[in-house]
Amino acid sequence: MKQKAGWHVLVFLAPALAIYTAFSAWPLLATLRLGLYGTDDVGHVTFIGLGNFHRLLFEEHWFGAFRNAMVNNIEFFAIHTLVQNPVALLLAALLSLRGVRGAAAYRTVLFLPTLLSVVIIGFTWQLILSPLWGVTEKLMTAVGLGDAFGPWLGQEDTALPTIALISVWQFVGIPLMLIYAALIAIPEEIIEAAAVEGASPWRIFWTIRLPLILPTLGLVNILTFVGNFNAFDLIYAVKGALAGPNFSTDLLGTLFYRTFFGYQSEMGSATMGAALATLMFLVILCGVGLYFFVIQRRLQRFAS
């Protein structure tokens, strides 16, 4: 039974609500609104309806950049999903085995990169992969793979996957921990009952544990999705705002930054930036909506 409210409720609630509204909710709405305005050559801002979106989606100059960033972003997310889920699942499953010595130490180390700044991680890998320094080439030569080495971060076709893998390397700790927590929360009796029935550990994993942690996997992937579709820091640290070579690592986040602030001879535009932010918002909203109304519901029904 909840307590009746009095003036004190306002005192408790008002500061948080005021700051959140003024600096998060309102700016988001104002940005969505600003996307419907245009800036003319002398800087006057006027209402132009869907004009900005028409330019972004139908003018080749804008659409080319948007399509490139969108396709790259999808690839970025796909690599995250394909690599991070199996790796996190494998490591979490091993960690959650009973009687693994040093599990706490492993856990601590595996989570470490997550805490470091993306800037530091980006530069660190840039040095390690640098052909100038040659550490990676030396190591690969030592195991007979010297020929396979290339300046991955500098080549158009390999730069984006390389950066995506760096990002996975850094953030795999989060899915790992969430999956691990879900795995050890499974009641021991269920596993024991299956073992008594003669099910192999492998079978127990696939038919009991995995279905039970599917909701967690769903959550992990939507978090990754949201993170990936407004990613900026890593690309900016490793490749700069121009997301080279030749925009091959451009994501929506870096495109948004350039559109808003401008770059080289191109002038920045707040209204075009706002329109692009609106599109990013819609993409994220679609993903989150799909997750909440379709995937999460199914997974929960499946798990229960």
Partner: protein
């Protein structure tokens, strides 16, 4: 029978070895890049390039990079900036977040659920998407290139998750405790500050770590709201420094090491608590 048992034991041993090889191997993949940077930050340029994998020896030992980074007076200043921004934002998020969580879980009033949903929206939608209007707002408030601008944005960014997590814990505070206090005529403010807040301290610590890391590491808002020399945070500072001295490997490696070390030390101290927080009590 005996042979069977020993075969099984051998199988178990093989399995254990495989488990440790996999986990250990991945840990190596995690640690190696960080160690490589730390190791080479203590070497001469010659040493860095000739033998990147070796330990710093007498001939290759050099602290030139550290000298250059620490000699730059701005570094200390950036560090202070980051500490102020993170510290103030964190304190405000925890206090205001706990107060809001208490109001939403304890009291029934019109619009309660709508407000909870309104706050929850901020968990999923990145605050970055509002950057254009945030910058305009800060310009209008004359807050561009101030630490206050960063703090306000980070507080707004951190509140939704803090309110959600703290609400769950506040809901578990036993009803009898609150009833007893109310029977004794204790006011609602004192109930919150003297009964509830001490009880949810562990949850507050967890939220603190979650909230602190993204603020300390953020590059986006310092870059757009406070890029001036006066207000640069350490994360933005490292980014600019490394960009500027890209060819000075000693300085770059030293700067990266200096940026990593505080986090390594903090993590060594708090890792148990942090991981317990993430796995939400499932790990004993």
């Amino acid at each position: 029978m005996n042979a069977h048992a020993s075969l099984r034991r051998a199988g178990a041993l093989g399995r254990t070895t495989l488990v440790h090889l996999t986990l250990g191997g991945y840990c190596l993949l995690v640690l190696a890049p960080i160690l490589l940077v730390l190791l080479n930050s203590f070497k001469t340029r010659q040493g860095i390039f000739d033998d990147p994998l070796g330990w710093p020896a007498k001939a290759t030992l050099s602290l030139a990079g550290y000298g250059k980074v620490l000699g730059d007076a701005a570094v200390g200043h950036m560090f202070v900036n980051s500490a102020i921004v993170t510290g103030v934002s964190l304190a405000a998020i925890l206090l205001l977040g706990a107060m809001a969580a208490w109001a939403l879980t304890e009291y029934g009033f019109f619009g309660n659920r709508v407000l909870a949903l309104f706050l929850a929206f901020g968990i999923m939608v990145p605050i970055r998407l509002g950057s254009v209007a945030i910058l305009q707002e800060m310009v209008a408030l004359n807050l561009v290139n101030t630490l206050t601008a960063l703090m306000l944005v980070y507080i707004a960014q951190g509140l939704p998750l803090a309110v959600m997590i703290l609400s769950e814990f506040i809901a578990q505070v036993p009803q009898e405790l609150k009833d007893a206090a109310r029977c004794d005529g204790v006011g609602e403010y004192r109930i919150f500050f003297q009964v509830v807040l001490p009880l949810i301290r562990p949850a507050v610590a967890t939220v603190a770590v979650f909230t602190m890391v993204p603020i300390w590491n953020d590059l986006w808002f310092p870059l757009i709201l406070a890029p001036s020399e006066e207000t640069q945070t350490i994360t933005l500072g490292v980014q600019q420094f490394v960009g500027q001295f890209a060819t000075d490997w000693n300085a770059v490696l030293a700067a990266l090491s200096l940026a990593v070390l505080p986090i390594l030390v903090l993590y060594a101290v708090f890792s148990r608590q942090l991981i317990r927080g993430i796995t939400a009590g499932a790990v004993k």
